[in-house]
């Protein structure tokens, strides 16, 4: 079974540019989460999809971040325009539907550097 995949693995962009991160969850997983780890700090929740619907987006830092999950499969996270403080590692995770005691499976992350 393929795991969670993320693309790209690394991205270096200049302040003010736009970047789009992609996440492909494990097939059949209805729950998809985005997290971010900035500067060696704790991993912080950004948002949660159930299929194509946003269940919880309380962790999104501001309106420069836009997440979508069209068709309930893969998800994209767009940062526009990027700022220096957006640098960090962005993780995507997925889990099975229903009981939220299920563990989340994480992708390898996308390391974003904004210069």
């Amino acid at each position: 079974e393929a795991g969670v995949t993320q693309f790209p693995s690394h991205s270096v962009i200049e302040k003010g540019q736009t970047v789009t991160l992609r996440c492909d969850p494990i097939s059949g997983h209805d729950n998809l989460y985005w997290y971010r780890r900035v500067m060696g700090k704790e991993i912080k929740f950004l948002l949660h999809f159930v299929k194509e619907s946003k269940q919880d987006e309380s962790g999104m830092p501001n309106n420069r971040f836009l997440a979508e999950r069209t068709g309930g499969t893969y998800s994209t996270l767009k940062v526009q325009p990027a700022e220096l403080e957006d640098s960090g590692v962005y993780f995507c995770a997925s889990s099975q539907a229903g009981v939220y005691a299920y563990e989340q499976y994480f992708g390898p992350g996308t390391r974003l550097t904004v210069t």
Binding site: Y33, E42, I43, F91, Y100, F106, P108
Partner: protein
Amino acid sequence: AQSVAQPEDQVNVAEGNPLTVKCTYSVSGNPYLFWYVQYPNRGLQFLLKYITGDNLVKGSYGFEAEFNKSQTSFHLKKPSALVSDSALYFCAVRSYYNQGGKLIFGQGTELSVKP
């Protein structure tokens, strides 16, 4: 507010010795607790979880963790450390009341096992 504390940024252990990585949490209601490990240039891998039942849970790679409700702790342990256990370890919690499933992470503990 929900939170997780990993009081040690780094833990150093000699190979063959027992290891403990500490985690304490604060959450409303019953906690669901998780440990994840991140090897260099890899994503987070699920190690083990406590949902209910026996306070001692066993997970992957010989790791185990003990849930202590009175001390609000969930320390990760292994009887005999291996050099290959060297990695970054994250503790995470979710409240039973948080039906969305988002995880609250600690800052991570770097485990270094020397031969």
